[in-house]
């Protein structure tokens, strides 16, 4: 595959093969695989790992692992505190990671980037810090049944606490958003629309920009859960008209324990902190305190410093490869998987066609419960996820209790898609359906 690679390598430590690939401007999956140590460790049963659970968490390249080790071995200290060389260095590294995040999502301002514990923490921060402050009885929040619980339950809680009401964008039969009635659903009382950039079950890519334009026309804010979409393509919050954006480091080749909340400057300025203590204050008196400006106001206590720096390294890594190349590779895998899976007897794919989705395919196979399927695939070395994937309302709407999900990333190969299909055949044989 010949795809233009991003000429800026952002200081990523390239292997010689990768450097050669970059020079030739080609996406070489074998070179990329060499960056991920875990892909080369056989499983306990001796089988090679076919990792297709990327929507749950992605594997980490050695550039990220190396950065984490570098932090701990060379400049481990707390940030914004110690007046000493290590403190200085680590603070510089952390703020440089913040700048990388800013550039990655197209935010205007580094103060709009808050480090959190992850997508869930980010959405909760908005639901409490903005929601409890600004929502009142009769206000409306526009959500939908396809969301991850992390982008539904916090809004249920905000609604219960404030008297606001949840309204749902209806779903089409395939589980994608049906936007035909959006303009009627949006009323002058709609305060916020919360939706994901990409479904973690159907892989459907939501038309965020279109929703944002229509929401804006009614004066509603837009929050995007980018937990999935962040790992699959360029985000541009300003261009897309996004007011709040949440994502996790661990689904973007970075460490667990760190995530991001982007909020427009004016909105963050009005928001209440959710946690109180060190780092988030300007002045503390005996009985009351003044809070720091964002982002520090929302970063009480010691941050996941090394994790945030590791996230910065992950962003460097994907930026250097280039989104165009990554997305093209994932699309090719998704199209191949779609084609092959849909040929398998008894297999039903959930969601839209291959063109309308990112690298996620969830499915059911007649007569084999997803849990059994995942267990049997695991025997073949194929790691997938089974269950409701934290989307119980979506599964209820689709009249199923669970599904099996295969999700692809930049290091997956065409041969791994074949391995998935062969493993499903094996499962059908065990269940005497072959």
């Amino acid at each position: 595959m010949t795809i233009p690679l991003n000429p800026e390598t952002c200081g990523v430590d390239f292997s010689p093969e990768r450097a050669a690939a970059a020079l030739e401007r080609r996406f070489d999956v074998e070179c990329i695989r060499r960056d991920f140590p875990i892909l080369h460790k056989p499983l306990p049963n001796g089988k090679p790992l076919v990792y297709l659970d990327n929507a749950a968490t992605t594997q980490k390249p050695r550039q990220v692992i190396g950065k984490i080790v570098e932090c701990y071995e060379n400049y481990n200290a707390n940030v914004h505190r110690g007046i000493h060389a290590l403190g200085d260095r680590v603070t510089t590294e952390l703020e440089s990671a913040r700048e990388k995040v800013r550039a990655f999502i197209g935010a205007g301002d580094i103060e709009e980037i808050i480090f959190t514990a992850g997508t869930t923490a980010s959405i909760n921060l908005v639901a409490v810090g903005w929601g409890r402050r600004f929502l009142t009885t009769g206000d409306e929040l526009l959500v939908n049944e396809a969301e991850h619980h992390a982008n539904l339950v916090p809004w249920q809680q905000a609604a219960q606490a404030t008297g606001a009401r949840l309204k749902f964008i209806p779903l089409a039969a395939n589980g994608t958003l049906d936007l035909t009635a959006l303009d009627e659903l949006l009323t002058p009382r709609t305060k916020l629309v919360a939706l994901s950039g990409m479904s973690n079950v159907t892989g459907a890519v939501n038309p965020v920009r279109e929703v944002a334009v229509r929401a804006k026309a009614r004066g509603a804010l837009v929050l995007v859960d980018a937990a999935q979409s962040a790992a699959h393509g360029g985000i541009d919050v300003r261009n897309a008209g996004i007011d709040f954006l949440a994502f996790s480091g661990h689904k973007l080749f970075g460490p667990t324990g760190v995530g991001v909340l982007y909020g427009r400057r004016e909105l963050l300025a009005e928001m209440e902190p959710m946690q109180f203590g060190g780092n988030m204050i300007r002045r503390v008196r005996r009985e009351s305190s003044d809070f720091a400006d964002p982002p520090a106001r929302f970063e009480a206590g010691t941050l996941p410093i090394v994790e945030a720096i590791g996230l910065g390294a992950a962003i460097d890594y994907v930026t250097a490869i280039g989104w165009d190349a990554i997305v093209a590779h994932e699309r090719a895998l998704t199209a191949q998987a779609w084609g092959q899976l849909s040929q398998l007897p008894g297999l039903k794919i959930i969601g839209p066609g291959a063109e309308q989705r990112g690298g996620i395919i969830s499915f059911t196979v007649e007569g084999i419960h997803p849990h059994d399927m995942a267990e049997l695939l695991d025997r073949c070395g194929v790691a997938v996820r089974a269950g409701h994937h934290c989307t119980m309302p979506l599964h209820a709407a689709l009249h199923i209790s669970a599904s099996t999900r295969a999700s692809f990333s930049l290091y997956n190969t065409s041969a791994e898609v074949d391995a998935l299909c062969a493993a499903i055949e094996y499962a059908r044989q065990v269940f005497r359906r072959g």
């Binding site: 849990h371 059994d372 267990e375 409701h388 599964h395 209790s401 669970a402 269940f431």
Partner: protein
């Protein structure tokens, strides 16, 4: 004990379950689920005056382990007294399945056992209440 989770015994119970359905007038009914994977089981007991399980039926949906375990359990409890079933332990249930369950699948294999224990507990409570002197 088989190391193959999907040996014939489990698959036979999964595909041709024993007493899958409902009683016309059960003495006790309880249902529960395994929120992680959405396994759902309901068990109905018909208990006679001598505290003996005359009939046991189940219904539900979920993975092969959870559904086969329900089938195996209702077969096992029929004819037993509540006193005997009070002695029935999780270990006994796992032995009945004849396969070695990984830690993550024990919840599936023990869902029906948990339901049975709740049923017996409920029957005991009911009895105590009906025997308590009215005031």
């Amino acid at each position: 004990m088989s190391d193959d989770l999907y040996d014939e015994f489990i698959l036979d119970h999964y595909e041709s379950p024993y007493h899958r359905g409902h009683l016309a007038a059960p003495t006790a009914v309880h249902e529960d689920e395994n929120p992680l994977c959405g396994d759902h089981v309901q068990i109905e007991l018909l208990v006679d005056a001598d505290d003996r399980v005359q009939e046991a039926w189940f219904d539900g949906h979920g993975c092969a382990i959870s559904q086969a375990a329900a089938s195996i359990l209702v077969h096992e409890v029929e004819g037993k007294t509540l006193a005997e079933l009070r002695e029935f332990q999780a270990r006994d249930m796992l032995d009945l399945l004849r396969v070695r369950l990984t830690a993550s699948r024990q919840k599936c294999g023990l869902l029906s056992f948990k339901i049975l224990k709740t049923l017996i507990y409920g029957l005991d409570e009911r009895r105590q209440q009906s025997q308590a002197p009215a005031d």
